[in-house]
Symmetry: C2
């Protein structure tokens, strides 16, 4: 008997996760430190903090209204997620982006996402299907954002997009696979953001096709569509993001400075 529709991602899916060792995701509802971490992560993913940008404690301290120690902890976290880098005594900076990295990232995503999806389909439940339908519905209500849409619209779309893709794989039984899949998904979001900013290309409704293949439990089709979905995104970025190939992609909207 199907459960009542759960709140966010999907209740049943994480039962086994609690029992294992796989790294903690964004889950802990820590107080201040985690709050700063989450904000900074989002700022990097949305290129408010731009690739290669130096992350100075002074500025960050103002921006996030917190102390050096707290900042340091958050930054340290970002480093192990791959969103920032650090060197001996010369502070932190946002990780660079490059076409090579995006290609590598995406191929590993294909490799992991398909494995994860296949397993999820194998162990799918009613509640899982329900969350897929629901999250796809929410996503489809928002048209893919255009370059000149306001930030908030893009962010909302990003949220729903993530929720949908999370829903697809929620019943996968391997916590480790889910964890790495999630990290890679976030990494890709940085590049998606660049694409959103630059591309006016209209893509056919891949999310719908994937949804239907998944609900039909057609694992092969679903995986192949998903793989295509990921690879198309790369092609779109290569075509439309100026400078990505030469390695000096520009990020629009330099971001508001707080002072002078």
């Amino acid at each position: 008997m199907p459960k009542v529709l759960p709140a966010t991602p999907f209740e049943g899916a994480n039962e086994n996760l609690a029992a294992t060792t796989a790294p903690q995701d964004v889950s802990r509802e820590d107080a201040a430190t985690f709050d700063v971490l989450r904000k900074m992560r989002e700022d990097i993913l949305c290129c408010v903090l731009k690739p290669d940008q130096k992350l100075k404690f002074g500025e960050l301290r103002q921006r996030y209204d917190t102390s050096v120690g707290t900042l340091r902890e958050a930054l340290s976290h970002l480093v192990s997620e791959g969103l920032a880098r650090t060197e001996a005594g010369r502070g932190f900076q946002v990780s660079p982006i490059s076409l090579a990295d995006f290609l590598d990232l995406s191929e590993l995503r294909v490799y992991l996402e398909t494995k994860t999806l296949a397993d999820a389909i194998r162990h799918g439940t009613d509640a899982w299907e329900a969350e897929i339908v629901s999250s796809h519905f929410l996503l489809s209500k928002l048209a893919a954002p255009r370059p000149d849409d306001p930030l908030s619209v893009k962010q909302e779309w990003g949220k729903r997009h993530k929720r949908y893709h999370d829903a697809l794989v929620a019943t996968c039984r391997s916590p480790w696979s889910l964890h790495y899949r999630s990290e890679l998904f976030d990494q890709a979001r940085r590049y998606h953001w660049l694409t959103m900013i630059h591309s006016r290309l209209h893509r056919r409704n891949e999310h719908l096709e994937i949804r239907d293949a998944v609900l039909a439990r057609d694992s092969d089709l679903a995986c192949s569509l998903l793989a295509q979905h990921i690879r198309t995104t790369v092609e779109q970025a290569v075509a439309d993001v100026p400078g990505l190939i030469r390695g000096n992609a520009r990020v629009l909207k330099p971001g508001k400075r707080r002072k002078s």
Copy 2:
């Protein structure tokens, strides 16, 4: 023309890694903070800090002779590597271990290691072959440690074992794959340690077989041997580590307390 034999892992292999975004591994030669991190990581992998053990700041501060802030940063790092966990306001603890986790971990390792190895073979160079031969030689000079060998022997073997496995995949072109492979390898080391402590089983010389298949560039054979190698380790642990199945594996040598 083959390069001169480089020092440790292998020079040519990491050239592309520098150019990408993949998380920084154990690479930065940071001062104090990183030193503590490395020591703590090794202590967890060798079960000196036992699974589920509460990590209190007071004790750790003595053990590693450092301040709270530094400790906190290191711990935070360990959390994102999956070696520790933390919850809201109740501190840190060593990640638990379980058979389910080991199984999950190992299957993902098979999936990633084989992909990584295949790519490494595809792009192998003379220097790569040389480092494989060399690291295998060093490994083979040490017999697999027995339960009552001293700690230092076990640790040295662990080091050489890791160096050999790193060498195998060093020419893989995907920094992200290499990074996750490496993290998973470390995770598995915790379970290997338990096995070393308990098992007297003598395994046939799998490392040699893998080496020869790799040097012969027989990708299929090499991958299948490597997969077997990983899975055998799981079976050995299931057979010989008491309590792993029931989830209360004991770690020998309770570890010296500093006080009372």
